[in-house]
């Protein structure tokens, strides 16, 4: 099957700055694809390359098998939900949502009917006559979504769409976006710097750093088997174990990661001292000092919680130790 989006050795340089450098990428049709990375890692530039706001310095971009270089944004069947929504302040909500249909020359009655349907889809029926300034952040976010979806895009691009929302609303929108994507079957490409968001929503995740993709895979793969120290550090609250520590624990002298929930407090094992205890509701997180390293241990709810300052012993299964490439 033709991929929805295919990058082959795509680079985008701004003078000496290599914002995107030799990226290879396949987004399958109908997939929820997340591009995850810290700011300045090139993920947003990749999104803008798909939208057509940027042109690649080198490499080729295909959207459903068609070459996209040199094609202006208004001739791409791709729509974007912008980070700060970019609603037109001089138009009411209905005209905002109907904008894409209006510029295509669709009659007023037809486009308003479609726009009203799109507003229903995002659970804002009857809001058409209001101005964007009269809506809350969460509502504007939904309008931006409706304005993009009404055009029935082949690919929907979302640029940190939930970044400006508060936690509760963000979690609610994450679920809604996911079920909307499943219902519509449109390919979603989602840019975020929030690893929790990427892991919980996406079918596949690409982790970006320094203009390139460090690792691609399902959320489980990325979380369980981070390829490099950077991925382990950025994606999870995984423990990073240095080569020296690994050697002293009797393992290989290489960087390794160990998930906090894989560590147990036991009657024998490595000696450690409890430094801090955080109650997290679903469990309790201990910060412990093991030699000179600081590790996190996640205790399930109901387990005995040791006091700060007490010496404990830690154990884990050797298959939970995951060795990584040395490169950062």
């Amino acid at each position: 099957m033709t991929p929805a989006v295919r990058f082959q050795k795509v680079s985008r340089h701004f003078g000496a700055v290599r914002a995107v450098d030799g990226v290879d990428l396949d987004v399958a049709s109908g997939e929820f694809f997340a591009m995850l990375g810290p700011s300045g890692s090139g993920k947003t530039t990749c999104l803008r390359l798909i939208a057509g706001f940027e042109q690649p310095t080198a490499g080729s971009i295909e959207i459903f098998g068609e070459r996209a270089e040199g094609v202006p944004p208004y001739r791409r069947n791709v729509n974007t939900v912008f980070q700060d929504y970019a609603l037109f302040p001089h138009l009411n909500i209905l005209d905002n949502v109907a904008y894409g249909l209006m510029v295509k020359g669709i009659s007023k009655t037809d486009r308003y009917k479609e726009a009203e349907k799109a507003l229903e889809l995002v659970k804002l029926p009857g809001y058409g006559s209001r101005k964007p300034s009269q809506l809350s952040g969460g509502q504007r976010q939904r309008v931006a979504l409706a304005r993009a979806l009404v055009n029935k895009p082949k690919v929907l691009l979302l640029d940190e769409p939930l970044g400006a929302l508060d936690l509760k609303l963000r979690e609610q929108m994450q679920e809604e976006l996911k079920s909307l994507q499943r219902a519509l079957g449109i390919t979603f490409v989602f840019v975020t710097h929030d690893q929790g968001e990427a892991l919980s929503m996406a079918d596949r995740v690409a982790v970006f750093n320094n203009g390139g993709i460090v690792q691609q895979g399902t959320p489980q793969e990325i979380y369980r088997r981070p390829k490099t120290r950077f991925v382990a550090d950025f994606v999870g609250s995984s423990n990073l174990l240095s080569p020296d520590l690994m050697a002293s624990l009797g393992g290989e002298r290489r960087w390794a990661s160990l998930r906090p929930e894989a560590v147990r407090v036991a009657s024998e094992g490595a000696e450690a001292v409890v430094e801090n205890v955080s109650f997290l509701g679903a469990g309790t997180r201990l910060a412990v000092e093991l030699g000179s390293a600081r590790l996190h241990v996640m205790l399930p709810a109901g387990a005995d919680v040791p006091d700060v300052g007490t010496p404990i012993r830690l154990s884990w299964n050797s298959q939970d130790i995951h060795y990584m490439d040395d490169a950062a």
Binding site: Y74, R75, T80, F82, D84, F88, H90, Y99, G100, V103
Partner: protein, 320 residues
């Protein structure tokens, strides 16, 4: 683990600052209205009495009439002076001035938009400073000097005629000058010349507010429009222009009203036919007909009022 100690001061309320100044700032802090009244009274008195007061005095004059024999102002309420505005010559003056002001405004808007757009969207750092300098520089030199300079530029012996002649395009200039109404013996004595100088003098007043309005249009609205399938032309018409319109209208208020009231440019450059400003000048000066002069100066006020009402109806201020 290090323990952080914080020195706690002796009291939670700090000692008062001494002296009259300290007591005064405390009093102002407790009574903000007092400060507001103190700050606003002088400028409001100035505006109310000197500015609005003199305008009302002028308006009252326009309802008086002048005795044709003695030349004395008759302070009785009458609309006769306004009726005089509607006779042939005076109506011509009004129509001439209004059409000139409208054309100058239109030309300024068309010239200003690309410059303002470039300055707002692309110019950065040094280029932005250069833009402001370029737009403001003409405002720093004397208005009269500029107008007289233009008289020399546009004169028959001036540089414009010379350039056309050198380019062997003298016939083009001849053809333009032989056009009815806008033509004349030379550019400096034609309506075309008056128009050019008006546009030159008032252009900065159009560029600056347009640029300020465009500066406030977020760049991602342009991208959003393209993303939704709008061609650059559609984006200009449906997003950029409506959002820049308050700025363009603000600029047009300057260019339109300044042209309506100006009496120096048409006197130095142009045909000898009068504009409103010149009529006011002539009526209150040589003719001593202050009521008619007052009635003439009411015309631009009424026209501006109508213009703003129309602009509001067209939604020019919706995006504010």
């Amino acid at each position: 683990m290090t323990v952080l100690t914080v020195d706690t001061p002796g009291s939670s309320i700090l000692p008062r600052r001494g002296g009259f100044a300290g007591a005064l700032s405390d009093a102002f802090w407790r009574h903000p209205l007092l400060l507001l009244i103190l700050m606003l009274t002088p400028p409001l008195l100035w505006l109310g009495i000197i500015y609005i007061g003199s305008l009302i005095a002028l308006l009252l004059q326009s309802f008086f009439s002048i005795d044709d024999f003695s030349g004395v102002v008759n302070p009785e309420f009458t609309l006769a002076t306004y009726a005089q505005l509607l006779n042939g010559t005076n109506l011509d003056i009004i129509l001439r001035t209004v059409s000139m002001a409208a054309l100058v405004t239109l030309a300024s808007a068309v010239l200003a938009f690309p410059i303002a757009y470039y300055a707002a969207r692309y110019a950065k750092g040094r280029w932005k400073a250069f833009f402001y300098l370029g737009v403001m520089l003409p405002l720093w030199s004397s208005y009269l000097v500029k107008v007289y300079a233009w008289k020399l530029i546009l004169a028959k012996e001036g540089i414009v005629t010379w350039v056309f002649a050198k380019l062997h395009l003298g016939f083009v200039l001849e053809a333009i000058l032989s056009l009815p109404v806008i033509g004349g013996n030379s550019l400096s004595v034609s309506y075309l010349g008056t128009f050019l100088v008006f546009v030159y003098i008032w252009l900065p007043y159009m560029i600056l507010p347009t640029q300020a309005a465009l500066e406030r249009v977020p760049a991602n609205l342009i991208e959003a429009s393209a993303d939704l399938g709008a061609s650059p032309r559609q984006t200009f018409r449906t997003v950029l222009l409506p959002l820049a319109l308050p700025g363009i209208v603000a600029g047009s208020i300057f260019t339109f009203s300044l042209t309506l009231g100006d009496y120096i440019i048409p006197q130095i450059i142009g045909s000898s036919r009068l504009f409103i400003g010149q009529a006011v000048y002539a009526q209150q000066g040589t003719a001593g007909n202050v009521p008619l002069a007052a009635a003439f100066s009411v015309v631009p006020i009424v026209i501006m009022g109508l213009y703003l009402a129309a602009a509001k109806r067209l939604g020019a201020f919706d995006a504010l």
